[in-house]
């Protein structure tokens, strides 16, 4: 009896976590394994490669479509994130600290816009962008990306800023700090983690976008990674793209893994901030 119970307890302690980790990492390990399979062995129908090769990574880095897509993705996502977080920080500061009519409405608006189906915006943007020359440009993607990065940042930041003890700024001023010092030494360190978290989440969304990416670009001038992956054909037309696509997929997953490893706690806090509050 006691043996059985301790076995079940141990299963609960170790079995659960092991299952979760297996579930989350299994497809990642699969795509990693696929990326190491040589082109001739891609159809071995096994989980692991028979022979390892780095050939696919060489192919990917020698494909201009992919390298330019990587550059496009990084800069477009970063710029959209930066602009959103700057505008959202100012707005969230006002929402957290000032009393004014309409602030609840602004938060509801942000929530509604975050739930907006991107496809509904694509047609008009396609039409307008083509007539004013923003089609297939960085700006042509940065603007629609703000339709989700901005509400997301406002949402996350207002939740974070509500928790900041703003009285400390005045306390520092009473202790003889100038208002600039009080802001820089007291408020900035308190607000920075929230701003940073909002930026990571916004970046994930921008990095992930596919609908705008395939609809509003046509060449490697602005085409980001997800769209490039969908149109990737390999080095020659006779090559099966599966191996090369897997290598490219692994490369674009690395930044995500690094961010998650470094900022795990903050991302969890940011995801749940404001979502569930009593």
């Amino acid at each position: 009896m006691t043996d059985q119970r301790s076995f079940r307890a141990r299963l609960g302690t170790y079995g659960g976590p092991v299952l979760v980790i297996l579930w989350t990492l299994f497809p990642v390990i699969w795509i990693l394994s696929l990326s190491f399979k040589p082109e001739s062995g891609i159809n071995n129908q096994k989980f692991l490669p028979d022979t390892f090769t780095l050939e696919n990574y060489r192919t990917v880095f020698n494909t201009p479509l992919f390298t330019s897509a990587l550059r496009n993705s990084v800069f477009i996502s970063l710029i959209a994130t930066l602009l959103s977080v700057m505008i959202a920080t100012v707005a969230a500061y006002a929402i957290a600290r000032l009393e004014f009519p309409g602030k609840k409405l602004i938060l509801s608006l942000a929530l509604a816009i975050a739930m907006f189906p991107a496809v509904s915006l694509v047609g008009p943007l396609f039409d307008i962008w083509r007539s004013i020359g923003l089609y297939d440009t960085w700006i042509g993607l940065i603007i629609p990306y703000m339709s989700f990065t901005l509400p997301l940042s406002i949402w996350t930041l207002s939740a974070f800023f509500r928790e900041i003890p703003w009285e400390m700024e005045q306390a520092a001023q009473i202790d003889g700090a100038t208002s600039w010092q009080a802001f820089r030494k007291v408020i900035v360190p308190l607000a920075a983690p929230g701003v940073f978290t909002a930026a990571i989440l916004a970046f994930f969304f921008a990095w992930n976008d596919f609908v705008f990416a395939i609809s509003l670009t046509s060449t490697d001038a602005a085409r980001p990674v997800p769209a490039a992956l969908a149109f990737f054909t390999g080095a020659s037309q006779f090559q099966r793209p599966a191996a090369a696509i897997s290598a490219a997929a692994v490369i674009v997953t690395i930044p995500v893994v690094i961010l998650v490893l470094l900022f795990q706690r903050r991302i969890v806090a940011g995801l749940t901030a404001g979502a569930v509050k009593g």
Binding site: G12, T13, G16, P17, V20, T24, L25, V28, W30, L34, N43, Q45, K46, F47, I87, V90, A91, A94, I95, R97, L98, E99, F100, P101, G102, K103, L107, S108, L109, A110, L111, I113, M115, F116, P117, A118, S120, V122, P124, L125, P144, M146, P151, I154, R162, F204, F210, V211, S215, P226, A230, I245, T253, V257, L259, V260, Q264, G274, A275, V276
Partner: protein
């Protein structure tokens, strides 16, 4: 500071509150203007375009047709088929995610060993590009590169050859990618169930199942409803997985995909915009149903 109480009725509004009001509007104005400019303006434009017979390849033939595009869409069996596919995928994914997500939340809530590893690994599907997830699952099930058939002795079963097996793989990829979001929201809800109640129920001799259904679940109803609402709205606009895995073949087309195909591939902007407007209206209807019908308390979402 914010502690200043709102002016009581009859008391004249002071300069201070007036200034605070003005500053609040000034600071939030850029955000509101940008949000409306990037969504409301294109949406209005879509509404306008949907009233025209308009193909980008033949702009001269643009002609006002009133609501005829809506009539064309709503009387077409293809539209109802895509709605049906979208609803089925939404219901399956959200239901499965709720169960798995809750199990994962329980694991994360109780875990002692490897807490950090578990929480880090669960964020990886969340952060991964949906297109990458779609490729990973597509290759796993594909006839040539896949290992699934080999592992389970399914021979040469063509997963992407039939409607329901294609939908199953699409659902699997969607579930894998979005369960972490669901489980983290549920974990936050789980953390709010008072430990005292659990202890009291335990002392009173409640079984594990009784504690789950009588104490835990009722106390996190708000969190569950919010998580389900968010995920339902997200699942309803499903696009990436379908595009990569089947490109709409085998009757797996979703509403988002139909709108995209009409507008961008066929450049039928008028008809496509009508589909896009209908998609938007369905999303609004789902949100309204949750908030009014199921009484999802969005004030808990809004913070205090």
């Amino acid at each position: 500071m914010t502690t200043t109480a709102a002016p009581a009725v009859g008391v004249p509004v002071t300069d201070r509150t007036r200034n605070e009001k003005r500053l609040g509007w000034k600071l939030t104005a850029p955000a509101v203007i940008v949000m409306l400019a990037v969504t409301a303006y294109p949406m209005m434009n879509a509404l306008y375009l949907s009233l025209f017979s308009y193909r980008l390849t033949d702009p001269a033939a643009r002609e006002f047709v009133g609501l005829r595009n809506y009539g064309v869409v709503l009387s077409d069996g293809l539209w109802w088929q895509t709605v049906f596919t979208t609803v089925i995928i939404t219901v399956i994914t959200v239901a499965v995610e709720l169960v798995i997500g809750f199990a994962f939340a329980m694991v994360m809530h109780r875990v002692i060993f490897g807490r950090k590893v578990v929480r880090t690994s669960i964020l990886i599907p969340y952060g991964i590009i949906t297109v990458v997830s779609a490729f990973a699952w597509k290759y796993a099930f594909a006839l040539d590169s896949g290992f699934i058939n080999n592992w389970f002795g399914l021979g040469d079963f063509a997963w992407f050859g039939g409607r329901w097996s294609s939908i199953a793989v699409i659902c699997l990829s969607e579930i894998w990618k979005t369960t972490p979001f669901m489980s983290l929201l549920l974990l936050a809800g789980l953390a709010q169930v008072p430990e005292v109640l659990q202890e009291a129920a335990k002392v009173d001799g409640a079984t594990w199942r009784q504690r789950l259904t009588r104490v835990t679940l009722p106390n996190m109803k708000a969190a569950i409803m919010v998580a389900v609402l968010f995920r339902t709205l997200d699942a309803y606009r499903l696009f990436d997985n379908v595009f990569i895995m089947t490109a709409g073949a085998q009757r797996t087309e979703t509403v988002s995909f139909l709108a995209y195909r009409q507008m961008i591939s066929r450049t039928a902007l008028g008809l496509g915009s009508a589909v896009a407007v209908l998609l938007f209206l369905s999303v609004v209807a789902i949100a309204a149903l949750f908030i009014k019908g199921f009484k999802v308390d969005l004030s808990s979402v809004r913070g205090r």
